[in-house]
Structure formats: C-alpha cells, structure tokens
C-alpha cells in the first residue's frame, strides 16, 4: 500500500468536525430562548434537544484567520451519514455547550464575516478531541469554521484540516463551472452518460 498517510484516518476527523459543527449549529437553532439565530434558511432546520440551564454565555472572541478553514460550508445534518462510532447528538447535546450571545447589531449592506462566533463543546472521537468555533456573518450565514482543538499527534488530521476535508456544498454546482474537474456517481450506462454532468465537463472546451 501507499506510504501516504491513511486518508481514512484523515477524513474521519473531518467528517466528525462536520457533525460536531452541525451539532452546535443545531444548538443555535434552539438556544434556550436566548434570542436565537435563525439558520433554517442556510442550513435546514435541525434541532438537537438541549437543556437551557447548561447554556453559558461568553463574550465574542476574535477568530484567528490564519488557522481558519476558509469558506467551509457545513452540510445540513440529514444529508451526511457518518460512521456508527460517531454519535453526533449524544456528543453535542450534553453540554456544557458554550455559546456566544447573538450579535444584535443591525446588518449593514455589506455582509462581513464578523458576526456571532460560537465555540462548540470538546468532542471526543476515535482520533482524539475536537473542538470547533464557527463564525457567522452579520446576516447569520456561516462564514468561517476554526478548528480549536484537534488530535495533533496525528499528522493526518492537520492534513485534513487543510486539504482533504470534503466540501459539502449547500447549493448545486453547475457542471460547466470550472470548479469541478470530474464527477463520481453510481455507475451509469453509456446512454445515461449522454445526459450526464460528466458529459458536460467532457465537452467543455477548456477547464
């Protein structure tokens, strides 16, 4: 086998991060009557039952942009299935979940990435502990995710944080866009291919 780091172990924390992220986004949806941030539009309505008594309000903390995973979008939780060892709700739900007070500033015309920052609980996974902080824009769109804690003894996890993290997109990506170089799906017949996204990519003259 290859000498490269084990991707299984690389991607696992990434998927786990996604789940944790979705988990505490879910907390946001139901912040115990604390002036919730409406996220349904951006993330789909997901709710994790949570005891309001365990919510702690912390001041907003500046996010270090150098470690941030740029523009990562988390998937709506119903769309992502994770290995059975990951149990998103039980891990996230038993707080002390730490959340910041929702930013009450009026949104201006320009949507800047300096809104509410939320720190998730430390979650323990097979490869170690993971903690995330998500930053929202003034219009409450998730704009940054920072990994606060990750298993540093696993070189692979760092690699994941930078590169191998699957990007779960909210919006459909048009196949003609230069972003996607190739498409993977369950095997299609030659006939199906002619109406396939890959056929569009193949016939696109450049890119």
């Amino acid at each position: 086998m290859s000498q490269k780091p084990t991707l299984g172990r690389q991607i696992f924390p990434a998927v786990a991060l996604t789940v944790v992220g979705v988990g505490f986004i879910s907390l946001l949806d139901n912040p115990g009557g604390n002036g919730g941030v409406a996220l349904e539009g951006a993330f789909g309505a997901t709710t994790v039952p949570m005891n309001a008594d365990t919510t702690t309000v912390l001041p907003e903390v500046a996010v270090d942009p150098s470690v941030v995973v740029p523009q990562t979008t988390l998937a709506p939780s119903p769309l992502v299935t994770v290995a059975p060892v990951v149990t998103p709700a039980p891990v996230v739900a038993p707080a002390p979940a730490v959340t910041a007070a929702p930013n009450t500033q009026q949104a201006t015309g320009i949507d800047t990435c300096d809104g509410v920052a939320i720190t998730g609980p430390v979650a323990s996974f097979r490869w170690g502990n993971i903690q995330l902080r998500a930053t929202f824009s003034q219009k409450n769109v998730l704009c940054k995710v920072k990994v606060l804690t990750y298993p540093s003894d696993h070189q692979k996890s760092i690699y994941i944080n930078q590169n191998a993290l699957p990007i779960y997109n909210q919006e459909a990506i048009t196949a003609g866009g230069a972003q996607i170089s190739v498409v993977s799906g369950a095997t299609e017949s030659w006939r199906a291919y002619t109406a396939d996204l890959q056929a569009i990519i193949d016939s696109h003259p450049v890119g």
């Binding site: 290859s2 991707l7 992502v80 990506i173 190739v182 993977s184 890119g207």
Partner: protein, 240 residues
C-alpha cells in the same frame, strides 16, 4: 504552466463512458496515442471478461470449456481478487450471479480502469485522470496546481453535485449506489438490508480497491462504512 487547455478524450467501454483528461503540456498527437493505448487495452479486457460475448474467457469458463486455472493471468488475477473480496466482505461482494455463473463485472471495471490509467503513466503523462462510469483514478494535479476536484453526484438527482472532494495526488474515487443495484450487487445482504443511505463513495490510492470496497460497502448497508475503514488508506462516506 503556460497552457490552460485540458486535453480531453471520451470513449465507450464496458457499457459506459470512459473519459480521460490530461493536464500535461504535451502535444495532442502524443496524448492521442496514449489515449489509443487505453482504448486498445479496454477493448481487450472487454473481449476477455464480458459475459455478453460468447467468446470471452469468462463465458468459456461458464460453459465449462475452459478451466479457471487455464485462463490468462489477468483473468486469474481478477478471479483471485474476487474470491478474496467475497471472504473479506462476508459474502457482500460476490462475483457469481444467483444462478451460479461467474460475472466479475463489478470488479473488472475498477481494476481495468486503474490498469488503463497506469498506461497513461507509462506513456509519459503525469497529470491526468481517467474515469470509467463514475469511477476515477487520478494522477498528479490539475494544470492550475490544484488537486483534482471530484464532484459527488446527488444520488437522488443525477444532474446535481451534492458535494466535492479534493483528491490527494494519485488517489482514486469510486461511488456505488442504488442506481447500480441489480446490475452487479448480488451479495447475500444486498436485497435484505435497506441501508440508510443511497450512495457510498470510497477514496483511496487504488481504484480497483476503492471501487470494490464501494460495491461491497454499499451492499453491507449500515455496517459498510466501518467495514471499508478497516482497510488502511481507504475511507468511505455516504449520502442519504
């Protein structure tokens, strides 16, 4: 790189589309000759493995005209790997149809695609991908210096990309899903379980294994992800 043009070739093999995209700075002539090597190779594989061709080695084995061990080394290698997979997946992967006839098509596609991609390397190419059906073997990087970015099709809407993965250099991506059920997933659990997902994508260094693990992992249903992750370097994720 000075050119942004990507050389692209499309063909038909094993009942599906074969695409090769080359991001090296090579002449169209040398890229085309590498592509022709791929086509010749895949045609040869089809001739020897297809159950639709009565003259193929597999058909002759099924009719009792050829003993498995007298088959060509490639056929023996494939059947050997299929036997191993059947045991490793506790029967979820099976190269025999319910009627007992051999049909290793579910393994051959990924195996042949990886071999074909190796021919491009032998032809001197460094940055390319080869795709057979929805299974992809990459090599090197895009001409932009970025990793190959693979879009994963939404299993419920094939005209939509659900998510995308930047593939580590030289790695492969394969997806199995409900769309291919009944085609070559006959595992003993395939009809019994109703997995909580509609497609499984496996990433790893070799397409032959990524494809085989996706097929077996999908047939294993909910236990599939954990099963795939037992294999070093291979990882699975599923879409509902």
């Amino acid at each position: 790189m000075s050119t942004e043009t990507r050389l692209k070739f499309v063909g038909k093999s094993m009942g599906t589309a074969v695409s090769v995209h080359i991001d090296d700075e090579v002449s169209r002539v040398s890229a085309k000759s590498a592509w022709e090597l791929v086509c010749i190779f895949l045609r040869d594989i089809e001739d020897r493995f297809s159950t639709f061709l009565p003259t193929s080695e597999i058909s002759r084995i099924n009719r009792g005209e050829l003993h498995m061990l007298d088959a060509s080394p490639d056929v023996i290698e494939v059947l050997d790997a299929c036997t191993w997979l059947e045991h490793a997946s506790n029967g979820a992967f099976n190269a025999r149809r319910p009627d007992g006839l051999l049909d290793p098509a579910g393994f051959v596609k990924g195996w042949a695609a990886e071999r074909a991609a190796g021919l491009l390397l032998e032809a001197g190419l460094q940055n390319y991908y080869l795709r057979v059906g929805g299974d992809i073997q990459t090599h090197g990087l895009q001409s932009t210096g970025e990793k190959w970015r693979v879009g994963i099709v939404d299993p419920h809407n094939s005209s939509r990309i659900h998510s995308s993965v930047d593939v580590p250099e030289n790695w492969a991506v394969a997806t199995s899903g409900t769309a291919e059920r009944g085609q070559h997933i006959w595992g003993k659990d395939a009809t019994a379980t109703s997995p909580q997902f509609s497609s499984m994508t496996v990433i790893g260094p070799h397409l032959m294994w990524a494809d085989a693990f996706a097929t077996a992992g999908f047939a294993l249903g909910d236990a599939g992800i954990e099963w795939v992750e037992k294999f070093p370097d291979y990882t699975a994720f599923t879409l509902r």
